[in-house]
Symmetry: C2
């Protein structure tokens, strides 16, 4: 078997899980992790024996050029990082997750990728990502109808970040709870900033102000909201598990036949699934034409190891 | 909008539903139906105003060449019919459903299609078809694990045909009932052949012989079986609805994270869904390279009408 040589860029929660996925795949070889120079030497055991580097050039000089770079940094940085890697002649995959910005990102990366003669897959997580695939296939099966994507119960990264940005909040975790019809309520655990001892009489007022600011924030303004105060980081950690899920429901018509009912229900460890979709996409990207692709642009068989005819015999 | 010109080959249950699907799609124009000469002039109202022809040559001479021919005949005839159409320079789609013969069929049609510079999609129903897509995507999400495909409750065409072939059976309908773990029980309604009046004392024995033959048939031998006798075609028609369904369940691991739970649950009108997948595939086939494809070889966005970037903005 020809091994796929992969490098991991960024070593947060997703990057660690990507190493797990590469380690359990028979057809991948990990050439190393590229991370910020300031982080080098930390969390050695999390690296699972993989080498770390402060740049792709150092990694390539030591271990050779990877076939694909798996981008595991924050979404905000991904557009620039993907462009830089494509310009350097590397194929990339990323799990960019800011839905409204995806079409423009695809156009930009498509130009960079074609110019470099390389391919990339963007928005390759679970939503956007595999959920996008199910939404597309459901429409092909029943073109007239309505699809609801119900998230949760689980921790929302985007809403947690928004809650942390509220003045007076030291840390926060936002839980998304489905209430039907693709709508959600929010449960936010808030650790207020430590107050001066002399100001302790105001703690009730300070929490009320935080609640008011959260309720007015665009991330929370349109959904039912409950805010709970916690007293310590340790208490906050008690609600910081990675469990998440989706129930996607479509009811519609195939031709003139109504009452076609389609549902996709998943209950998962969130970063583990994102990492696995990235790794399966890293396999697919090597089989694609130059350009920028999303998962709905990718033949699903490209994501699987092994021979096409074997996969057809087993799965079709 | 450039309209896709389609022709329908075969006018049974699926062919009728394909006309419904073409009629409700904005981007398709139906050039007519090709059917056996012996059937011409029958079921005029079912044609929904479409012209009928006894050959594709007659259809093309009258209405022009279609971009794609949608094959709606029996699976047994599809391999030859697809080859003939490809050799004549037409793209085709079919819902061939004999699982074990699909890899060989793909190889054969691939050669014919490449030689003709045309594309075809085979096995484009729901199982094989969209179920194949879900099986593939589920493995990309959780590569280690087990998938169960639970069919029903609904009428099994293959098992009904097998039951009708038992000596002494005038007509039969076989219902597939899921019993968990991808296993099924069978409920078969049997209308025995009319006996001589003088032989009526033997009717219990004749039914017992049918039950015994069914239990020994390879289609039924390995599953729990119940056989019920009915007294008329009319009584049989009372259990001949098109309701069907699937519950596909995968439990597995993404990387080292176990307990990833994925499920696809659908409840549908069976021929309507098959017809809709055929029509969505007829859109996709025009966007594919020459060769023979199954649905797991097709980028899902190709099955949808409209601009790729609009679909990315809406679905990803």
């Amino acid at each position: 078997m020809v091994m796929i040589k992969a490098a991991v860029h960024g070593f947060g929660n997703i990057g660690r899980h990507v190493l797990d996925c590469l380690g359990t795949a028979d057809d991948f070889e990990c050439l190393g992790v590229v991370r910020r120079a300031a982080s080098l030497g930390k969390d050695k055991s999390d690296l699972q024996g993989n080498a770390e580097f402060s740049s792709i050039e150092e990694l390539a000089a030591k271990n050779g050029r990877p076939d694909v770079v798996i981008l595991c940094g924050p979404s905000r940085l991904m557009p620039d990082e993907a462009s830089v890697y494509l310009n350097k002649g590397y194929n990339t995959v990323d799990s960019f997750d800011i839905h409204g910005e995806i079409p423009a990102l695809v156009r930009n990366l498509d130009e960079a990728a074609r110019k470099a003669g390389r391919a990339c897959i963007t928005a390759a997580g679970w939503d956007p990502g595999t959920d996008s695939l199910f939404r597309a296939i459901f429409e092909a099966m029943a073109p007239v109808g309505t699809t609801f994507t119900n998230f949760g119960r689980g921790r929302s990264m985007g809403h947690s970040v928004a809650a942390r940005a509220i003045p007076g909040v030291a840390d926060a975790i936002a839980i998304t709870i489905p209430i039907g019809g693709g709508r959600h309520s929010r449960l936010v655990y808030v650790l207020p900033e430590a107050a001066e001892a002399s100001a302790s009489v105001d703690s009730a007022n300070r929490f009320a102000a935080i609640k008011q600011a959260l309720a007015a924030d665009p991330y929370f303004a349109s959904d039912p909201l409950e805010v709970r105060e916690v007293g310590s980081e340790r208490e906050l950690a008690q609600v910081a598990d990675n469990s998440h899920g989706v129930l996607m429901e479509r009811i519609g018509a195939s031709g003139t036949a109504s009452n076609q009912r389609l549902a996709f229900d998943m209950r998962i460890d969130n970063p583990a699934l994102t990492a696995q979709v990235l790794v399966s996409s890293a396999r697919a990207v090597l089989r694609l034409q130059p350009g920028c692709h999303t998962l709905i642009d990718v033949p699903p068989v490209f994501m699987l190891p092994g021979d096409r005819y074997d996969n057809i015999a087993r799965l079709v």
